[in-house]
Symmetry: C2
Subunit: 213 residues, 2 copies
């Protein structure tokens, strides 16, 4: 079976999950923590080399304060959990804004945690315009555009999996995702099941890779 090198994850549907379970919306985020760790372990077992989680974006910070606090805390907790695994960890996002949690600053340089291993990227206070903004001041040169992104330490995404039924990228790494095969699950992220991952891999295995050629 052809295993994607790099999987992107959009763990959507936390608020709708909370709604459906009679909880306030902001209670949905912490339900995404265990799924995140399970998915990391499955990716490692399958031989995936790199995994990028969509934490929260600059656009998301327009939401009500209780929700903002909850998703920021969930990101901090998720990264805590990941940082007790053997990974090569990178947190990436706009650190100049006060929405960026200071606790995560140490990981904004790629950090070998434990024995190292699978590259795990976590987008925190990420913005697609912020990411592309670097290009404006880069000198004219012959390097590939992708090398001049703020997220230039994140490689091309092969398979992008989104939970929660929406069929859009919502600003997820626009340059690295230009050729990503996009798999959407209707289940909400807190309802993550191992089968979701295996189904996504099976589907990916049936796709061709042309990169436009």
């Amino acid at each position: 079976m052809r295993i994607p090198n790099h999987i992107g994850v959009i763990p959507d549907g936390n608020r709708r999950w909370a709604d459906n379970n009679g909880l306030p919306k902001e209670m949905g985020y912490r339900e995404g923590l265990n799924p995140g760790l399970k998915l990391l372990k499955l990716c490692r077992e399958a031989g995936v080399k790199e995994l990028t989680y969509y934490g929260f974006t600059v656009d998301n910070t327009k939401r009500p304060t209780t929700q903002k606090k909850a998703f920021v805390q969930a990101c901090i907790d998720a990264i805590d959990m990941i940082a007790s695994e053997d990974v090569s960890l990178l947190v990436i996002g706009d650190t100049e804004s006060k929405m960026f949690p200071k606790a995560l600053l140490p990981y904004t340089r790629r950090t070998k945690v434990g024995k190292g291993g699978i590259r795990v990227n976590f987008l925190v206070n990420y913005g697609w315009e912020w990411d592309l903004g670097n290009l404006r001041t880069a000198e004219k040169n012959k390097r590939k555009v992708i090398k001049e992104l703020k997220s230039n330490d994140i490689s091309r995404v092969d398979l992008l999996i989104r939970w929660g039924g929406r069929r859009r990228l919502s600003g997820f790494l626009p340059a690295q995702s230009v050729y990503a095969d996009f798999y959407v699950l209707d289940d909400y992220w807190p309802d993550f099941k191992e089968e979701h991952f295996y189904d996504a891999l099976k589907w990916y295995n049936t796709q061709d890779i042309t990169l436009g050629g």
Copy 2:
């Protein structure tokens, strides 16, 4: 019904259609001409304000010469057909390469054709890296990134429809497509039917618009 302002179109599957019909691959492209015109008329009727066709990309020019000749000719013919309609036409792509057909140079500035009307954009020898490349030399300023793209006369895409079953953007306007709802049809583009368009609109009508907020 909520009608998208701007629809992007990835008319894929021409070569597979030709294969399935016992024809050489390059014979598939011309079968996409009438569908393109039909779709334009349907969009106008429905009140769509802007329509962008994915013609061919810089990446596509790695293909065999017979195919290249055929898809370039199909783009020229398609734009000829569109230019006998009432539209506001723009052809956009890398004009500095010899792959860009000289016949289309007049349309690389937005041109009112007939009585004008719906904005029709046609990507010809387009490359996502080419499009973003402008940002490198743009002066640092407070304008939105999207205003500094080479494709800055193309607005945000609301609904992106792809024929031919593949679930990826293949480099289609990465900045304008960050929030596009992505609808994929398994049918090949030469097998276009009106229902495809109406089904896409019906589906779009069930989606929410959050822009991350």
